[in-house]
């Protein structure tokens, strides 16, 4: 067993063998019994934190009272168009992302998984513009958002579904106190109550760091947002937060968001991946300050830019793997899902214990082969006061990894031969 392909093949075969060795006893009868059991269970609402929801509801009701009449100020009947509307929003803040779809009779969210989720809007913050076929929405912080068919959008809110609650679309339709009922033809197996609209122009937030907690086994910590954090900073922030909070039991995932120059931060707590967050809270921002301070990921430093440019000249597209200023950590995914890694640091700042297991001269530079206590074997060379290390797969167009190293040394302006 040696390279990437070998381990991939080995894993593929092992997983197939494991699955094939499992006895398969299931039949439709067991599924039908489970379905019958579920039908006997009482209907339950989506899990939310009652106190947080009540507080949010109180705030929203207060806002509605202070703001006076909503969209029907003229006193005439309100045209809700195809919107499904309830009196006011709940307090849920789970994030749901997809594409907004408006038809003549329905407004729903089309998710990446190909599901259609009926959107339910609060009357006190929603308007339907019949002339533009657009939805006007007021977020709880007062910002106004206009949404149209086909726009990518993220909603804060909460949902339930027939699968989760055992309530069919028809039953659900009959139970809700409607301001404007959805058309019976609308998809109603999954219902999403809109509470906030994340700016459609904003790039969707994605966890860019995902780490397993060491202090709290079984809890995954994900950090996202505008402020770049290293894995260690994310881990430290998450564990500090969990340790110092009275969080609900059974948490298995915490998603932390650091926004607006590290001044506004939030945490979503999950007990299950396929359910909305059970609690959302404003939290203290990470003690590690933003490297940039302006809320955006810091620009590439000189070393990072130098490596990215060098890779680019070799036909390889590099990008920051981890913010490690003043050093650099760049990776370049290749088409076959393998990758190249190049890191750089000031000479003398060695990264842990290693053994030199080989040495050769490439492009006039002494290139050492290093074996660290963990991780792959790396090639290392010095150039000026900077030490470079690289490992990974051989990129297309190079006969060997040594040939790539030769190209990299030359592209970095370090060749002496």
């Amino acid at each position: 067993m040696t390279g990437d392909r070998d381990i991939e093949t080995f894993v593929r075969r092992h997983l197939a063998a494991e699955a094939a060795e499992l006895p398969f006893f299931l039949d439709g009868e067991r599924v039908r019994r489970r379905l019958a059991e579920r039908r006997r269970r009482p209907w339950r609402l989506l899990a939310v934190v009652p106190v947080a929801a009540a507080l949010m509801l109180a705030v929203l009701l207060g806002q509605a009272l202070l703001a006076g009449p909503g969209p029907d100020e003229s006193g005439g009947p309100v045209d809700w168009g195809p919107l499904a509307v309830v009196p006011t929003a709940g307090g849920d803040q789970a994030l749901n992302t997809g594409t907004l779809r408006t038809t003549q009779s329905c407004v729903f969210l089309e998710t990446g998984g190909g599901e259609s989720e009926l959107l339910v809007w609060p009357a006190d913050r929603t308007r339907w513009d019949a002339t533009a076929d657009a939805i006007g929405f007021t977020n709880s912080d007062g910002t106004e958002v206009t949404l149209r068919d086909g726009e990518p959008v993220s909603f804060g809110g909460g949902g339930d579904s027939t699968a989760e609650g055992g309530v069919s679309g028809e039953e659900w339709l009959a139970r809700v106190d409607w301001v404007a009922r959805p058309d019976p033809s609308c998809p109603m197996e999954i219902r999403w109550y809109v509470n906030e609209v994340v700016s459609p122009s904003a790039a969707p937030l994605e966890p860019y760091v995902v780490v397993e907690s060491r202090e709290f086994p079984g809890v995954e910590i994900a950090c996202q947002g505008e402020v770049a954090l290293t894995s260690n900073a994310c881990l430290a922030w998450g564990e500090e937060l969990i340790a110092g909070s009275a969080i609900p039991a059974g948490i298995n995932r915490v998603v932390l968001t650091a926004n607006a120059a590290n001044a506004r931060c939030a945490a979503d707590f999950y007990v299950a991946d396929d359910r909305p967050a059970v609690m959302t809270a404003a939290v203290a921002c990470p003690s590690t300050p933003s490297p940039a301070g302006d809320g955006s990921p810091p620009p590439l430093n000189d070393l990072e830019a130098r490596i990215v440019d060098a890779l680019d000249s070799l036909g390889v597209e590099g990008q920051r793997a981890e913010y490690s200023s003043p050093g650099a950590s760049i990776w370049a995914p290749l088409d076959d899902e393998s990758a190249i890694f190049v890191s750089a640091y000031r000479t003398g700042n060695n990264r842990g214990e290693f053994s030199v297991i080989g040495e050769q001269v490439i492009a006039g530079r002494t290139v050492q082969r290093l074996e660290y206590t963990t991780g792959p074997i790396r090639e290392r060379f010095e150039c000026g006061d900077v030490t470079y290390e690289t490992d990974g797969a051989t990129p297309p167009g190079f006969a060997s990894f040594d040939a790539f190293v030769a190209g990299l040394i030359t592209a970095l302006g370090c060749a002496t031969a």
Binding site: T2, G3, G114, E206, I357
Partner: protein, 186 residues
């Protein structure tokens, strides 16, 4: 191409029958995809009993939510997505069972010993990482489809796949690709 068309037609028929509440539709979906779903669930949970429960949960969800599946051709990926999410969310209650795979002669190097080592390395991975590895390398989903199945971005899925392989390689004390190149000893 022909095989793909047959698969599409089969999926369309299965979806149509599920929507029509055909009594034997559950059996036929189980026949077609039950083992696949059980395999993925087992890879994530490392427990046969829990994997069975996940398959049942998946079938219940599919039965109840089949109307939300717009493209019948996507039935396989849709079922995998439901199963993976059920499995990952079930992980807190999962108890590893006695391993099915044992080395024929403990201590003897060879394929069995290697597989036992790999199994132990898989046990040590985070469930979401195992889910990515199973969906990609066992179920054959692309990186993008794996991300969609787990509700994570393709980049995050790619991260889990890469990190997962790296951890398995390290656990198996596998030499990386670089080590295959001819070495000049110091």
């Amino acid at each position: 191409m022909g095989r793909h068309r047959i698969r599409c037609e089969l999926n369309e028929q299965l979806v149509e029958d599920l929507r029509a509440r055909q009594p034997d539709a559950i059996e036929r979906v189980l026949d077609e995809y039950g083992r696949l779903l059980q395999g993925v669930a087992f890879h994530i949970l490392r427990s046969h009993a829990d994997a069975e429960e996940v398959v049942i949960d998946t079938m219940v969800s599919a039965w109840e939510r089949i109307d939300s599946l717009r493209d019948p051709a996507a039935l396989r990926a849709w079922l995998l997505r439901i199963a993976a999410r059920h499995a990952v969310s079930r992980r807190r209650t999962a108890h590893p069972t006695q391993p099915l795979l044992e080395a024929t002669q403990p201590g003897t190097p060879g394929p069995d010993a290697e597989r036992v080592a790999l199994r132990e390395a898989l046990d040590a991975l985070p469930p979401r990482m195992r889910a990515c590895l199973s969906l990609h390398y066992y179920a054959g989903l692309s990186v993008e489809e794996t991300g969609v199945a787990l509700g994570i971005s393709p980049n995050t899925a790619k991260y889990h796949l890469k990190a997962g392989l790296e951890r398995l390689r390290t656990a198996l004390e596998v030499e990386p690709m670089a080590a295959r190149r001819p070495r000049t000893e110091a």
